[in-house]
Symmetry: C2
Subunit: 376 residues, 2 copies
Amino acid sequence: MFKLIKQEGKARRGVFETAHGAVQTPVFMNVGTQAAIKGGLSAEDLRNIGCQVELSNTYHLHVRPGQDIVKSLGGLHRFMNWDGPILTDSGGFQVFSLAVLRKIREEGVHFNAHTDGHRIFMGPEESMLIQWSLGSDIAMAFDECIENPSPHDYVARSCDRTARWLKRCKDELERLKQRPDTVNPGQMLWGINQGGTYPDLRIRHMQQIAELDLPGYAIGGLAVGEPTETMYDIIEAVEPYMPADRPRYLMGVGTPANIIEGVARGVDFFDCVMPSRNARHGHVFTSQGHINLNNAKYASDPRPLDENCDCPVCRRYSRGYIRHLLKAGEMLGMRLAVMHNLYFYNHLMADIRTAIEEGRFDAFRRENTEKFVKRI
Amino acid sequence: MFKLIKQEGKARRGVFETAHGAVQTPVFMNVGTQAAIKGGLSAEDLRNIGCQVELSNTYHLHVRPGQDIVKSLGGLHRFMNWDGPILTDSGGFQVFSLAVLRKIREEGVHFNAHTDGHRIFMGPEESMLIQWSLGSDIAMAFDECIENPSPHDYVARSCDRTARWLKRCKDELERLKQRPDTVNPGQMLWGINQGGTYPDLRIRHMQQIAELDLPGYAIGGLAVGEPTETMYDIIEAVEPYMPADRPRYLMGVGTPANIIEGVARGVDFFDCVMPSRNARHGHVFTSQGHINLNNAKYASDPRPLDENCDCPVCRRYSRGYIRHLLKAGEMLGMRLAVMHNLYFYNHLMADIRTAIEEGRFDAFRRENTEKFVKRI
């Protein structure tokens, strides 16, 4: 399902087939946690800004509106009117980051919902049932996300359990897909590598989960507070043990520089809330560095957010207008800023793909990694 | 500038020319107080839902971002990327409804801003300067909006002052439009009839302001708490004194039923925040009556908001999805609901226009006035 078109160093230019179309990689997935992109973007907006894959969340959609409602309305694609590929996160990360009073057992995790505190149990089978009901194209394995740093022996035991959970995820999704009321018969399961910041555990766990021969593998549990260099080191350590003929997904990462460095280390899929969250606070990515629209100097600036950008926002609106909307609390301000930032990310990935195709990714990396960090 | 195409009883089907195109009347103007429609709608969204005239507010844009910024960015049309007709309210209503510690003098009104409390003075000349800077197509006169009911002698004195203010508005706008840096040379001034709930004062004031021979006249100070029947009575009383060859605008009105009844009494222009405000609270207008999306029965309802509606929302999204978005606090929910409700209003006006053209407005009125009040 994953076809490698071109490779330069570790950087890979590929195509990945899903039940809802092909994904050109490296790719950035646009995050719509609750089946909608923050800032009021519609599925049509997503198409207009070059989004290839939409990402929603198992835990959030379980809590509200509930997977049965989404399934009864035809599954997630029809629910949100997005007919392109969808990846659903497993809920594992949210159970460990949002939920309170959790108890981890071999069978799964007991915890209280972050909304109204009602008691929930989620294990591999529950996560698969929810994702199967949602009908995403890529379901993610239910895993334990540990804090960094955690003790080596705890991480080792956690990884073993996550490996056992992965086998249960695989069995359960295969079983569910036999049901005649399956929303998406083409749904697949990807595994998630854990192991904290310990290269030995990362490698051992990767070897364990590679045995299940899944169509894709993610690196989870990074970008959760550890130094950036540690993250890069872990990717470098585990990458040689990831199947070369399967896509690799670095979960929750990151800045434009992080993404370029991830691609340079052999990663194909990325996702992050940063572009939409930053946008809502007036922080905008541009080809020249990032700008803070809250700065008074932009109040009467007639230029588009990025003078080199061809997105639907930059073709129509000025910095001054968008700044006014954000200051006045008008939702349109957030929507325009989010659209631009997501376009910037999607467009960055297109530039990366072209650079690899043309055998000049190394030069692209040297030119751009630092540029995007600059504040202008 | 106003051409009457057809009349049925008092109901009028007309065309009104502005510097940014013709307006087919009767028309509902879509309210974008702060140079943006609430709910995150862009100017492109407005085009897609049949908006003819956008309405922004002098007071709000004076407070934030300030008319000089809008002017420096090319005026309101360019600022918000809307090249159709724009009407700006004068700020009079907001000065009397939002501002605190106001003092009314012959020269104008001293008051504190509702945002940060800073002291502002606004009179006819200030209102004209702001609207001239914004470059709207229709500038509204600066008037005093009294409460209903107010004592007869106070209303009489207020009307006389508002009539004197109108003359100052006219002189000032004519003076400003001589300036070479005029944003919109085609900008025009409309007068506003006041007089509270007193037919005699309404008529006297209308006779006063008709003498200024303005290109349009509004009925202000209604729909501010008085009974609906009183509002209809006042329109009926004053309408014979409004120039028949000029458009009439009933400010801030209203429900679909109010609009149909207004048209039946000779009104051509309407505006109201009701469709967008209701939408944001999950209250949706449909051809069968209005629905409250907060009702649990809509959670798994696969139908569009209105099964007879052809708007961009009803063609793509279910009640269940939009209800989920509203419950989850996703901005997209508000945006979709607002788009539908505004489309409903714009489409209602198109139906009214067709009914008048075809000489069956009276039947349309009988069939529809009650229907839209029903809760389904």
